[in-house]
Subunit: 335 residues, 2 copies
DNA sequence: GACGCCGATTGAAAGGTTTCATTCATCGCC
DNA sequence: GGCGATGAATGAAACCTTTCAATCGGCGTC
């Protein structure tokens, strides 16, 4: 039971095949009586337009694709929502694939989308320097890097000023009078983590504080478990050496740290102030609402989609690296 | 600069177009010397196989689609991970679209996937009774309903026994000695919410407790804000009438309730015990780790994908409604 | 030396849609 | 009543791949 084609519809409605196509694509060009006849035939036959054939003929697709780094991190799903808005405004659909931080899956998804001839690919790559990105673009599919960046200007990208974010967090802690603080995050291979740390150190130095009073605790990964473990390490320090505040490289770490503090009877923020990063929904909803560095997630997604559409459609497109400004949201976890 | 086609590759490699196709699809049929020549030509021309043309000719696609109800709920992203595993095992890709609970977007995504002739569509619908689902299947695309169900057996579906889940939660609270409890959730149009409530009431009755000692607080939606607000309502009750435990219809509600309790000085679980539902990652990581009814999220996704593949590939497929069994995970929030 | 066989290669057809230059029909107007 | 203009409908060509029956060339065998 092969599904009906325009030809079948045309036969049934007693019109030519071109007319059916006109009904589909330029309904104004067709008289209302035949239009109705054609539409009736479509209904009776259960006609579903074959997108492959359409796309083959026209060479254009109606979709943008986003290869997500980690679909279970709320940050990325919010970014994707911003993209959806932009795509919808242009009459396009956004489809997602999740790489789950696996380079092989990332590669497979990139290849699939390239073969599908999507209008363009948004990607938060496992490794932004991967030559696979260059290859994908060279082969004809526009690519925009999301929440990461290439230091040369070889790709369009959208990101947030992580150095400033680090700075904001530490300036806030300095304002609150802290004289010994911790930076918690890792792994240090991720450029953004080191940027945040650099900003943190700069702000600390600007405040005239000695470098050794900013303790760095490196975690294996940016998840809740890493935060808990860091909490245990903090608790193990002598009270003289123990920081009175912690700046965590993302909210998951901060939540883990908070959890450890509460369960071990450390009061937040009195004995330990905490600043997170990302301002995910759960940050405001934590037991002690978290201060956090907010990234404009929806704008990030929207801007990325807009850049991609420009790259895809504008003949004299130039690569741009958009950088957004983060913002500190002070809540109870810093007093 | 149109991208190269098999014809271009064939010309460059000095072979026929059929041979190029053989290199792509049956590399064993082609001598290694010509194969190398063809592959070299592909590399030089930047050939990318046109998936639309392939699909048009063969009639088969390599993808499954999942229309997610709410991509920002970690529960659904975990379900999607289970689907990814099943898809990968069959050499297929899974693509996601988010309806964000908007029926119009759900409809648009269903239409898109049907036109793309994906192998099948997994969907957590806004409304499982929507005729759109029937229409999509009638028009030729297999559909499996995820985490919802049709009460007639008209569709394959996977879900979890919500009545049992409600039962487990309340039995646990009864075991803990609570004699007055609350059910918090809503809106009541969602079948699953009412199922959980029915199970809760049944267990309560089985324990010989009077119906009026199970207080129902209806929320507008299953989010953190709803939980906070319910917390305020609980706090407003006289201590004689105030329940000593709450069973929340999902973890987001439970987290909101927990947050309210902590910030208002109510100790958990001593003054208020809390059971959530879904057992999302943040449940275990909450300030007071949440007891919760765990749904087998990955299995749910995997089973859904398997059903879909059977419906798509097996000529004498019969619709099945798979129901999984939930499990109570006791943590600190219930003592 | 002819024959048959086998693996390697070929090339035309098919798949469903869109496009566009043509044709057809109708109508108003001189 | 004939003419041009206008609007509607037509149908062949093109998009790129895969498939499959047919051809080719080389080899071993009788």
């Amino acid at each position: 039971m092969r599904s009906a084609s325009v030809k079948d519809v045309a036969a049934r409605a007693g019109v030519s095949l071109g007319t059916v196509s006109n009904v589909l694509n330029r309904p104004d060009r067709v008289s209302s009586s035949t239009r109705e006849r054609v539409e009736a035939a479509m209904g009776e036959l259960g006609f579903v337009r074959n997108e492959s054939a359409r796309q083959l003929r026209t060479g254009t697709s109606q979709t943008l694709a986003y290869v997500v780094l980690d679909a279970s991190n709320p940050f990325f799903t919010d970014v994707a929502r911003g993209m959806e808005g932009a795509a919808e405004a242009h009459g396009l659909s956004l489809v997602l694939c999740n790489s789950g931080q696996r380079p092989d899956r990332e590669a497979a998804h990139l290849a699939l989308f390239a073969q599908q001839r999507v209008q363009g690919i948004l990607v938060t790559p496992v490794d932004p320097t991967s030559p696979l990105l260059d290859r994908t673009r060279t082969l004809g599919t526009p690519v925009v890097i999301v929440d990461r960046t290439r230091h040369d200007a070889s790709f369009c990208s959208v990101s947030v000023d992580d150095e400033l974010g680090g700075r904001l967090a530490v300036e806030h802690l300095v304002d609150r009078g802290h004289r010994r603080i911790a930076f918690i995050g890792g792994p240090m291979e991720i450029g953004q983590i080191t940027d945040r740390l650099r900003g943190a150190r700069a702000a600390w130095a600007d405040a005239g504080r000695p470098a050794e009073d900013l303790v760095v605790l490196v975690t294996d990964w940016l998840d809740v478990a890493g935060g808990r473990e860091a909490g245990a390490r903090l608790a193990g320090m002598s009270s003289a050496k123990r920081p009175t505040a912690a700046f965590c490289a993302n909210d998951l770490i901060a939540l883990g740290l908070l959890q450890h503090a509460i369960s071990s009877g450390t009061s937040v923020p009195e004995q330990l102030a905490i600043v997170g990063y990302d301002d995910i929904e759960f940050a405001a909803a934590a037991a002690v609402p978290l201060s956090s560095v907010r990234q404009p997630r929806h704008e990030l997604g929207r801007a990325a989609a807009d850049l991609l559409l420009d790259e895809a459609g504008n003949p004299d497109h130039e690569h741009r690296q958009v950088q957004f400004t983060p913002e500190l949201v002070a809540r109870r976890s810093t007093g």
